[in-house]
């Protein structure tokens, strides 16, 4: 860990300003990802702006009938929220499928969206990694890539986005609300929030330096049956090999978002459109451009099997 300076921001505006004005500054929320990465010198911020005390920890109704979730709402609290459990159950289920109770007590909504990949080569500074150190190559592509992505990948990087929560957010068409250093607020649809790796896998989102996530807003509830199915190497406390969030409508329509397989939380219109035609059709639609390695090609059949299972469950329910 490199030494750094620390400040506790007094307001949202001040936080954004502080983070924009100091080269190499970062926000710190729960710290469950950032501090781990700092210890390993994968992240080396010069200045930390603590955003834990800005009152961004509330969950409120929006006038449009949706829900505004403060960026500092803890994963535990969000998962337990009554409205979330009733109207956005997939979010609650995705959250409790992630990490461990202790981590969820600290982890925040904003931090969770921005958690970095779990590619093992990213985690070892002695290894080549274009995401960590642009231009050094990709250690994983010809190495151990079992957990890595098969969608949205590039020749530079095949890292997966590891978040469960973000999969549900993507499924629910969340908006990421931010404020920048000039005090300008904007709302970014989550579909546009994450960048694909392309040639610059080090750039992961559209956020500008110093732009603070203030909340995540969900549109009004869409009803339907909410499910989140996460398949992993042990029963709990492991990242997804493949996860599927789904909302089944009454009318045979459905929407799907996927974790563990994409460079970002994955959702396609084509897959949603294929929903009435069943698991195979959805699989074909979502995996049309999949690019696998010999280690992670099993994720393709796994996607189809999870979908088949979810469809069957849905039929049994009906």
């Amino acid at each position: 860990m490199k030494s750094f300076t620390y400040e506790r921001a007094a307001s949202v505006e001040a936080a954004a300003k502080a983070a924009a004005s100091v080269q190499g500054a970062r926000f710190i929320a729960g710290g469950t990802n950032l501090i781990d990465l700092m210890k390993l010198q994968i992240e080396t911020p010069t200045h930390l702006v603590d955003v834990n005390h800005l009152g961004l920890d509330r969950i409120e109704r929006t006038t449009e009938g949706g829900l505004r979730i403060g960026a500092l709402v803890r994963n535990t609290d969000l998962a337990a929220d009554k409205t979330v459990r009733r109207d956005y159950a997939v979010l609650s289920r995705a959250l409790v499928a992630g990490a461990s109770g202790q981590l969820r007590n600290k982890a925040t909504t904003g931090g969770n969206l921005l958690q970095r990949t779990r590619c093992p080569y990213f985690y070892d500074t002695r290894m080549p990694c274009n995401k960590r150190k642009p231009g050094t190559g990709c250690g994983a592509m010809e190495g151990m890539s079992r957990s890595l992505a098969i969608l949205g990948v590039s020749d530079a990087c095949i890292a997966q986005h590891p978040s469960d929560m973000a999969v549900a957010m993507r499924l629910l068409d969340a908006q990421v609300d931010t404020m920048d250093a000039d005090g300008v607020a904007r709302s970014i649809p989550i579909a546009d929030f994450y960048l694909l790796p392309g040639d610059t896998p080090n750039r992961e989102t559209v956020l500008k330096q110093g732009e603070l996530i203030t909340s995540v807003t969900l549109p009004k509830p869409v009803g339907g049956t909410h499910v989140y199915r996460k398949v992993r190497d042990r029963a709990s406390y492991a990242f997804a090999l493949v996860s599927v969030g789904a909302i089944f409508g009454e009318d045979g329509t459905a929407r799907f978002a996927f974790g563990g397989i994409g460079a970002r939380p994955w959702r396609t219109q084509a897959a949603d459109a294929a929903a009435p035609h069943g698991a195979r059709a959805v699989t074909d639609a979502v995996l049309a451009d999949a690019r696998t390695t010999p280690h992670n090609d099993f994720k393709k059949p796994l996607v189809e099997r999870i979908l088949a299972s979810l469809y069957r469950q849905q039929e049994e329910r009906a």
Binding site: P120, Y121, G143, R234, L302, R305, S309
Partner: protein, 734 residues
């Protein structure tokens, strides 16, 4: 005291304290955080500076240049130890690779520098500034590719690499039923809770190390040898150990570099390995490739059995003796085992909980399951048919000291409800799950080693036991106190046990599941000597004297022990040594594992539903701590079956998944109810305690029972461990 004839009735048989499921006497201190572990000995070594290890970024080659200027100039840095300034270091007898590398690099993450600073943060930050230019050399990292170059390794613990009896080839070729299969097991990491950690302090030329180590005397020897100082100048203190599983059998980099760092900066230095350093810096259980051939008649009675094992290690290293159990477990006049060792430039392979058997049974017990199916014989019945009451390589002249495998199989099967198993795979459905049962025999060799203790009693009647035995979370404190209390007829509460200090008599230490039986036998010997002194003080003939209620009795007379101890107290010291009973009798522990799993019909996720087992391991000194050992080991077996594997990157020569987020071990949600039954057994040839080891038995066969249950549930046979979703899906699609 020498144990060279079978034990007769003795004071332990009373079973007043020994054999009671007493709570750990150190339990309260541990759960309240008041048991100080090595890294926390601020009280003993105040003002310690912090050392951070720099590990090699290459697996093989040389350091061309080291630039320490930036690190030396960094805030708080007090000194940097490297090969260039460490002085002459002789490799420890128990180490395969040098603990401080350079200029030659033997493996990835081999320590190449220790940066010492005033704070942990400063040491770690400065460590990142150590600039090293390497000249890499190509190395061998791929066991599958290198196996054919394997050679016969040296004997392991006195047993040869290859054994045979009868005519395997002939008998196998004639057999009515022939099984031939190949199995592989990956490299495993011990993943104990407490990382390797030490504080070192010098007083003149005398070194004190507060460390976390299973084998005090071995390590004192290797500290002295490595540093070139007399053993008498080395003091090791290791009273509390947060798990070891074999990772802490030896001197490791934390202790050596703490000593070197403390010498360089002239004040105490503490060093802990960071979790991500452990898999590549320290030892691991080596991967194996195993080939098993069994020839049987149509009823499954074995006539020919062969087990061959390939593993790799650094030059000078050792083989994983995964065929060990196959020499002793089942009948068959025609048999062979062989181990081949090939050179790999991965980190050092070495012992991890039940070396040999833990992975050998992952193969053998699946082979037996496959044989059972080929013969149409129930897997439990198959093992009963192949039971043998003597060492099948040596013949009937070498019987087992005690062997209750059949009793374990029968009792375990009953308790588990094995008769409800449907032999044909894929028949039982529960919603989206296919459910199946599997079983396996458990076998672990029993070793006993010389072990000493000192025992004293004072004028208050308090008993103190001192031995350099260690408690690695196993319960040594408690069983030693129980032994002393039993021997002297005092309440357990009156016994104080002091462990893990090199000033105490040398014990057998903790390893190879020899610790409990050996160390308590040492306490038995010392207590016998103290009884003699007490009898003499009382003027009673020792053979007639009885010890109970804090008294020594002779007929109707009695004297208080406390009074006999007097103001100075009475002390005695002795050790237990062994004759050749282990040569005349095969000595081993046995058991039977049962497991029920569900396999998701869609996703191939495996969930263990129940585990149960019956075990015979001689006298169970404390059923509570013994049960804890067994369920912990069953959990580790489940991990080996389902998830544990160090992934080798054969390009860079390192274990890629080197932290606990990526090296998966079971969590609570993976482990359901576990049932443990101990079969009554006293082994009079093992020691006066009539006990055997139990700390490793539980892992032996546990994973195979899981694998066999998966097969029974879903009809999928994966022979390359761990049995993960990707492999099951591939098997299903094949």
């Amino acid at each position: 005291m020498k144990f060279d004839t079978p034990a007769k009735a003795n004071p332990i048989d009373k079973g007043r304290v020994v054999g009671i499921p007493h709570d750990r006497i150190d339990g309260a201190a541990k759960v309240t955080g008041t048991a100080p572990y090595a890294y926390e000995r601020h009280d003993a070594a105040p003002n310690a500076a912090y050392g951070w290890i720099v590990g090699s970024a290459i697996a093989k080659g040389r350091i061309a240049a080291m630039d320490l200027r930036a690190a030396e100039a960094a805030p708080g840095v007090l000194g940097i130890v490297t090969h260039a300034n460490a002085g002459k270091l002789t490799k420890g007898n128990m180490n395969t690779a040098h603990l401080l590398g350079g200029p030659q690099i033997e493996h990835f993450e081999q320590a190449v520098a220790l940066v010492v600073a005033d704070t942990l943060e400063n040491a770690r930050a400065a460590a990142a500034l150590v600039h090293i230019d390497y000249t890499p050399e190509s190395g061998k990292f791929d066991l599958a590719a290198e196996a054919i170059r394997g050679v016969v390794p040296p004997d392991s613990f006195g047993t040869p690499a290859d054994t045979s009896a009868g005519d395997f080839d002939g008998a196998f070729s004639r057999a009515a039923v022939k099984l031939e299969q190949r199995y592989t097991t990956p490299d495993h990491s011990h993943a104990m809770m407490e990382p390797h950690a030490s504080i070192a302090a010098w007083n003149g030329d005398k070194l004190t190390l507060w460390t976390s180590n299973q084998m005090i005397a071995w390590t004192v020897g290797d500290v002295a040898r490595t540093l070139g100082i007399p053993k008498a100048n080395v003091r090791l203190i290791s009273p509390y150990i947060g798990g070891g599983f074999g990772a802490k059998l030896f001197l490791r980099a934390d202790a050596l570099l703490a000593a070197l760092g403390a010498r360089q900066v002239g004040r105490p230095v503490k060093v802990a390995l960071a979790r991500p350093q452990i898999p590549n810096n320290t030892t691991h259980r080596p991967a194996t490739i195993q080939r098993i051939r069994i020839g049987a008649d149509r009823d499954g009675v074995i006539d020919a059995i062969a087990h061959e094992v390939w593993s790799g290690d650094l030059p000078g290293g050792s083989a994983e003796t995964a065929a060990a159990q196959t020499r002793l477990l089942y009948r068959g006049a025609n048999r062979m085992t062989a181990h081949r060792l090939t050179t790999l430039n991965l980190p050092e392979g070495n012992a991890m909980r039940a070396p040999g058997e833990a992975v050998g049974l992952l193969a053998l017990e699946v082979a037996m399951d496959e044989l059972a199916e080929m013969c149409g014989v129930d897997p439990v019945e198959l093992r009963i048919r192949n039971d043998v009451q003597f060492d099948p390589e040596a013949g009937p002249q070498r019987p087992f000291s005690s062997r209750k495998l059949v009793e374990c199989l029968r009792a375990g099967a009953d308790r588990f409800g094995w008769n409800r198993r449907i032999p044909k795979p894929g028949q039982v459905r529960d919603g989206r799950w296919l459910v199946g049962m599997g079983m396996a025999s458990a076998f672990r060799n029993n070793l006993a080693g010389k072990s000493g203790a000192r025992i004293g009693i004072d004028a208050q009647g308090r008993v103190v036991v001192e031995t350099d035995m260690t408690d690695i979370g196993t319960g040594s404190y408690t069983i030693i106190a129980q032994t002393a209390a039993e021997m002297l007829g005092v309440p357990l509460e009156q016994v104080t046990v002091r462990l893990g200090d090199s000033r105490f008599p040398v014990s057998a230490g903790s390893g190879g599941q020899w610790g409990a039986n050996s160390s308590t036998a040492g306490v038995y010997a010392a207590a016998m000597a103290l009884r003699a002194k007490l009898a003499e003080a009382a003027g009673y003939p020792v053979d007639a004297a009885g010890f109970e209620d804090g008294l020594i009795r002779n007929g109707n007379e009695s004297r208080k022990l406390a009074a006999l101890a007097g103001d100075t107290g009475l002390w005695a010291e002795d050790s237990m040594e062994y004759g050749d009973l282990d040569k005349r009798y095969a000595q081993a522990t046995f058991g039977a594992h049962f497991c029920e799993v569900g396999v998701d019909t869609d996703t191939a996720e495996v969930r263990i539903r129940r585990m149960g087992g019956a075990f015979a391991a001689g006298r169970i000194l404390n059923p509570k701590s013994a049960r804890s050992q067994v369920i912990g080991a069953m959990t580790m077996g489940a991990g080996a079956a389902l998830m544990e594997a160090l992934d080798v990157d054969t390009r860079f020569g390192f274990f890629v998944n080197h932290d606990m987020a990526e090296y998966l071990v079971p969590v609570h949600a993976d482990i359901p109810q576990q049932d443990v039954l101990f079969i009554d057994e006293l082994d009079d040839k093992s020691s006066p305690m009539k006990a055997k080891g139990v700390g490793e038995l539980g892992i032996c066969g546990a994973g195979a029972a899981v694998a066999n249950a998966i097969y029974n549930a879903a009809g999928l046979r994966v022979r390359d461990y761990p049995i993960t979703i990707d492999k099951l899906l591939r098997a299903q699609m094949a």
